[in-house]
Structure formats: C-alpha cells, structure tokens
C-alpha cells in the first residue's frame, strides 16, 4: 500500500492526484486533423530553414567570404510568389463562400504564378552561372543555391498538392473536401512565402 495515499476521500474511488474536467472535443474530424497535421509539419520545416540560416550566419564570418551580388530576378521571384500566395488566398475565401468558379480561377492563377516563380528562380541561377558564380565558386553562391533550391523543392511538393486539388475539383467532390484541400494549400503557400521573405531578407541584408 502506498504510504502517501490520500485516505481522506475514499468515496472518490481513485488515488488520482488531480481532478480533471471533461472537455472532450469529440472524435477527430478529417479537415481539422489535416489542418493540425499541416501545422505540425511546419515545425520541422521551420527548424530546417532556421538552421540553414544559422549555418549561413556562422559561415559568413569565415575569412574567405565574398558577398554575392543578388541577380535582379530574385525581386521578380518575390513579386510572383506574393501574387501566387494572394491567388491561393482568393481561392481559399471563394471555397469558404462556396463559389466554385472563383475557386477554380484562383487556383489556376495561383498555380501558374507559382510555376512562373520557379521559372524566375531558374533564370536567376542561370544569371549567376553566366556571371561566373557557379554553385561551388564561393560559399555565398553555394548558400544561395542551397537556400533557394531547398525552398523550390518544397514549392514543387506543394504543386503536387495543388495538382491533386484541381483533380478533385474537376470531379464530383464534396464542398467540404474541396474547402479543406484549398485551405491546406493556401496555408502551405503562405508559409512558403514567409520562408522566402526571410531567406530573401537574409541574402539581401546579411550579404
């Protein structure tokens, strides 16, 4: 027998140290779960990009560092990604209101802008290459390629989700499913935009 057991309330029928209220939200629902899942996925992604930036900052203090002249295409990329994210936001709001045509249009525009963003990134890399700044030329160009490349890989993964959402939208889909999928895409895009802005800021101000 436990020597510290609270014997003053035998009617409780338990030796549980606290009383806890019953705030059960009910069995898990799909859209809510997917959203929570996405938010939790953003944890490791934030950690990854954060660590990449810390590595950049540490490496920058080594003697051989030469600042990288940012190609003007990254400004274009920034504008394209902001617009793409806005397109997803438009689709998200339309989905919430049930305007299916607007969802289609918003998604199409957002996706095309995202593809244009990837194109502008390739253009920027090519521009650096032409200026004699290949991946391995100096640490700044290595970091530029690594940071933008990792970001682009995650955008491509997002495009797979975008593609699937459009496929679902083309078929007979429940409005709730569409709304959930569009919402997930939109949040992911806003996150990637935020990451891009931070990376861009680091490359610009901590060159």
């Amino acid at each position: 027998m436990s020597f510290w057991v609270d014997r003053s309330h035998p009617e409780r029928g338990t030796i549980e140290p606290t009383r806890t209220g019953d705030r059960w939200p009910g069995p898990p629902e799909r859209p809510k779960l997917a959203m929570r899942g996405l938010l939790i996925l953003l944890l490791p992604l934030t950690s990854m990009f954060g660590l990449l930036i810390s590595a950049y900052v540490m490496r920058r203090h080594m003697g051989d560092w030469q600042p990288l002249p940012l190609p003007w295409q990254v400004w274009l990329s920034t504008v394209l990604l902001v617009l793409s994210s806005a397109g997803f936001e438009w689709a998200r709001r339309a989905a919430a209101a049930g305007w299916v045509d607007d969802v289609r249009r918003g998604l199409l525009v957002a996706g095309l802008l995202a593809l244009a963003f990837l194109g502008s990134q390739l253009w920027a890399w090519q521009q650096l290459q032409l200026a004699g700044l290949a991946v391995a030329t100096n640490p700044a160009s290595s970091f530029f390629t690594l940071m933008t490349g990792l970001h682009a890989v995650h955008l491509v993964a997002g495009l797979a989700a975008w593609f699937r959402t459009r496929a679902v939208l083309a078929g007979e889909a429940e409005p709730a499913t569409v709304q959930s999928m569009v919402q997930l895409c939109a949040w992911y895009w806003h996150f990637l935009l935020a990451v891009w802005l931070v990376l861009f800021g680091v490359l610009l101000f901590l060159a």
Partner: protein
C-alpha cells in the same frame, strides 16, 4: 467498464487480402511490428560488427579485422545502434503500437502516411546495408561523420561509402518526420473521451515529447547531410577548409568543420533524449504495474519529461569541449548540462520512491526495468564528470567516454527495449514469453554488460584512447590493459551470443507460448482492456472506451482488487464529481 458506441466503427474496414493485411498495411499494429522486426534485424548486424571489433581489440593476433574494416565496423555499429535500431524501435515500434491503444484510438490519424513512414525507413535501411557492397565499402568516418576526414581520401569509404550513408540518413529523416507527424497529431487529436493529457500513461508522454524533439532536431542532421553531400560531390566549401591531402591540394577553401559539429550535435544531443524519453516512459509504466503501486509524483514525472525535452536543445556543445570552440561557450554548456541533470534526477528518485514499500513482483519485465535504473544511474553519474570542462579535457576520447555512453544510452535503453518487449508481448501475440529463458537472458545480459563496460572506465582513466584499432606498441598501455581487453572481449562474445536466447524465446513464444489472456499483468492501461487479444483492426470493436481515471490506480484504499482499469467508472457517490460522471454516462 465504460464504452461509447462509435459511429466510425465500420469506417475502418478490415483489410482482406494477405498483401493489404501484412505488407501494404495501414494498421498501426502491423506497421509497429514491421518497424520492430526491421530494427531488430539491423540491430543484429550492428551487434555482430561490435563482436568483430572486440575480437580485434582483445585478440589482435587473430588479424580478423584490418584497420580500415575496424573503422568501418565502428562507424556502422554506432550509427545503426543509435539511429536505425533505438530511434526506430522506440518511436516506430513502441510508439506505433502503443499510442493508439493507450489513448483509446482506432488507429493513427494518418494511416497512409504511417505506412509510407515504414517503407521509407525500410528503404533507408536497405541503402545503408547497400553501402557494405559499394566500391570502397561503408564509411569509416566514425558515427559522428566529422569533416574534413569523412570525405577526404585516406578515410575508408570516403567516396561511395559516405554518400550512401548521407543518402540513407536523409531518407530516414523523411521517414521519421512522417512518423513523428502522426504520433504528435494522434496524441493531440485522437484521445478517447476522458483521456485528458494529464491522464496519459507516461509511455505516451515520453514518446510524444520525443517525437516533437525528433521533428525539431532531425532537420539539423538533414541540413548537415545535404551540405556535406554537396561538399563531396560538387566541391562546395561549406565544411571543407583549404586542405592538402596525400600531397594534393583539394578544391576547397575556407569551410568550417566546426560548423558541421554544431549542426551535428544540435541533432545529436537531443537524439540522446529522443531515445531516452520513450525509455523513461516505458520503464515508468513497467515499474508501476509490476510494483502494484501508483507512479510517485506523476505530475513531476510529466514536467520532468517536458523540461528535459526543452533543455536538451541547449546542451549540444558539451560534445565539443576539445573541438577548438570558444571556451566561454564551454562554461555555458557545462552549466546547462548540470541543470539538465536535475529533472533527470527527479525521475530517478520518483522511480525509487515508487518501488519504496511496494508489492514488487520480480517478473522478467520488472528485472529489466530495475536493471535499467541501476545502469542509468551509473551512466548518468559519469556524465557529470564528462559534463565539466576541466574533467572532460583529460578524459575526452578515452575509453571513459566509451564506457559512459554505452552505459547511459546503449545498455540502459536496450534493457528497457527488452523489458518492454517481455511486458507487451502478450498483448501483441496473445502468448507469454518463456519465463526461464527470460530470466537467463536478463542475468547474462545485465551482469555481462557490467563486466564489459565497467572495466572500460579504468582503461579510460588510465588514458587508453578510443577509436584505435590496435594498442600493441604503446608504452603507456601496460600488459594488464591488454589482459583486461581480452577479458572484455570474452564477456562481449558471451553476451552477444546470449541474445540468441531472446530471439529464440521471442519467435518460439509467438507461436507456441502459453496463452496469456487479455490482461496477464493485471494492468490498468487501456491497451490491456481491448475486446480482443491481439487487438483486431480498429482496436475496439463497436464501442470506443471512455476513460474515468488515471492509469496508475493500483492498490486503491478500500477496493478489493489491486488494480482498477482506466475505463472503470468512479463510484457514484453523492459527491459532485460522482454526479458529474453519472450525467456523462447518461449522455453517452
């Protein structure tokens, strides 16, 4: 017992064909078994490698292993044991099996992602094993993979070996992220009615916090692996300084090997606790069940897990005191290392106080749990030595370090793995493991690992450096050290072979063991209250359980039975709480 009828009972269709049931399975229990068997298989490879290394160290005249092979075996042994065995087994194996059952859920919340997680893990293991067969063999860089030597000619496996290792780690990290996503979301979203966070078994708490840590820490290894991959293949200079190797100037300049060490240990130290926290949780539940007593200081135990989880991200550089890092950092990290010992010590005291005046049953799982306690204390105390800069400097890179980390994160968690397998095996298979073989396995393993690792402390204090392939021609190493090395090798071979007892017991008992019934240990946790043993797909049949109490109601005063399952309603007395529960029952 309390259950609520559940609308989604039929949503989980029982898979019909052999392939969907056992291979492309989305059932958390099958995935858990797949994870566990794969981890154990790859663990046996690592065990055999350690045996080969011990033969070389104890009987160098056999010439069984040459210098390159020794470094390759050492690297693979370390990496497999830490990442591919322990991490995969605790999170992918026990996490997968126990989280939904202990929380009263039907499955993980993302079963498809869960299945992918296993197949990515298997792929990472296959890539790792493939590195034994690539030109030059596996990497021999040491499990920490420090550049520049990891990717510089002269190190065994500096070409294909290190690349396959980095690729395999990247795939493993994808697998672990998919798994971690599932575990965390399931714990937060899929708990049964009444299962508040502060009513979760400590096993779930340990795995939950470890999963969050894995989500935050593994990206550091991923970033480091990608950067090193680029250094090795494209000639970038993230980590590679200007260097002349074998008379040839390499195309790198200015990179920082220290940067890699920071990234590696930012992953590497939390990794220690990613392994330790699930072990803490499992051992708490085993001790409480077999001591027939509630865990002492449940809230403190939960908060200690959370605090250890947070602090473990602020101690990484205590692995780097002799790396040339700024010594002011050393001061900070020595302090934080001592601070993290406080919540850890709280846990140890609480386990001991749980045992105090308890009705201890010396079953096989309990023996392993108590073996863990002792081993963890011994390994933890030597950690206090190494955590202090001035003591660490003479002891760094000696066998003292080898003894420390094998005790604290090799032997201690493995004892928990064994204890937990003996404990939950009846739920997984519906059969008991053989007790006599289990006892024999425990005593040989427990005493044997002491015989192996305890003398290493002395070898370390004497100054015997680690990571050497042979010690014959050093004047400062006396004959007695060689004798001790031979002795350790004999013990290691016996302990290694004794694991066959366990494997035989496990596979034999799975088919021919004594039928166990649903709750052989008379335990309170929800996983023991399933309608079927082993639980069927969907776990709970028609009705989901309702939780009315914490998981540690053992020997409650005034109750005849010495345990009360978590889904047993409270007595409906005149108290407000009783009325509340009565009202709840009526509604459900």
């Amino acid at each position: 017992m309390a259950y609520v009828p559940s609308a989604d009972a039929h949503a989980h269709h029982e898979p019909q064909s052999f392939v969907t049931k056992y291979i492309w399975s989305q059932d958390h229990k099958v995935i858990a078994i797949q994870y566990s068997l794969t981890a154990i298989a790859v663990g046996i490879v690592a065990l055999v490698l350690s045996g080969l290394m011990r033969v070389q160290l104890g009987m160098p005249e056999t010439d069984l292993v040459d210098a390159s092979a020794y470094y390759q075996f050492m690297t693979m042994h370390g990496m497999i044991m830490v990442v591919y065995l322990l991490t995969a087994l605790f999170l992918g194996g026990f996490g997968n099996y126990l989280i939904p059952l202990m929380l009263g859920a039907r499955d993980m919340v993302f079963p498809y992602v869960n299945m992918l997680s296993y197949w990515f893990y298997l792929l990472s293991v296959l890539v790792l094993m493939a590195s034994f067969f690539v030109p030059g063999g596996p990497t021999g860089a040491g499990w920490t993979l420090y550049p520049p030597q990891a990717i510089t000619g002269g190190t065994p496996g500096a070409g294909w070996g290190i690349l396959t290792m980095l690729l395999s780690l990247a795939i493993f990290i994808v697998a672990a992220t998919m798994g971690g996503l599932n575990y965390v979301t399931t714990v937060l979203q899929a708990r049964a009615r009444g299962m508040t966070l502060m009513r979760m078994p400590l096993t779930v708490w340990g795995i939950f916090i470890a999963s969050i840590m894995a989500l935050l820490a593994f990206p550091a290894l991923l970033v480091a692996a990608i950067m090193m991959f680029l250094d090795a293949t494209l000639g970038t200079s993230f980590f590679m300084p200007a260097i002349i190797a074998m008379g040839r100037e390499l195309p790198h300049e200015g990179g920082s090997p220290l940067l890699f060490q920071h990234l590696f240990w930012f992953f590497g130290h939390p990794e220690v606790y990613i392994v330790a926290l699930p072990a803490f949780g499992l051992v708490s539940d085993i001790i409480s069940t077999h001591a027939r007593k509630n865990i002492f200081g449940y809230h403190m135990m939960v908060w200690a897990i959370v605090i250890i989880g947070v602090l473990s991200f602020f101690v990484w550089a205590h692995h780097m005191y002799v790396s040339g890092m700024n010594l002011a950092f050393g001061f900070f990290f020595a302090i934080s290392t001592l601070v993290i010992a406080v919540p850890t010590a709280i846990k140890v005291y609480n386990w001991i106080l749980t045992l105090w005046q308890a009705d201890i049953h010396l079953t096989v799982p309990m023996l392993f749990a108590m073996g863990f306690l002792v081993t963890f204390v011994v390994g933890g105390l030597t950690g206090l030595f190494l955590g202090n800069v001035v003591v660490d400097i003479p002891l760094a890179d000696t066998y003292f370090v080898v003894a420390h980390f094998h005790m604290v994160m090799g032997v201690a968690p493995i004892l928990v793995v064994f204890g937990a397998i003996y404990h939950w095996f009846p739920k997984i298979t519906g059969r008991m493991m053989n007790d006599t073989l289990g006892q024999l396995h425990f005593w040989i393993t427990f005493l044997g690992t002491y015989i192996i690792f305890f003398p290493m402390h002395y070898l370390g204090v004497m100054g015997m450096p680690r990571r050497y392939y042979a010690y014959e021609d050093y004047e400062f190493i006396p004959q007695s050290a060689h004798d001790l090395n031979a002795f350790i090798t004999y013990a290691a071979l016996v302990v290694g072979l004794a694991q066959l007892l366990f494997l035989y017991n496990m596979f034999w008992s799975a088919f021919y063991g004594r039928p166990s019934g649903g709750n052989p240990w008379r335990a309170t946790g929800l996983e023991w209250q399933t309608p079927d043993t082993p639980p069927k797909h969907g776990n709970w049949g028609e009705k989901l359980p309702v939780v009315h109490r914490w998981p540690y109601d053992y020997n409650v005063p005034g109750v005849e039975q010495d345990f009360i399952p978590q889904n047993e309603p409270r007595p409906h007395s005149g108290t407000a709480e009783g009325e509340h529960h009565k009202a709840e029952e009526g509604r459900s």
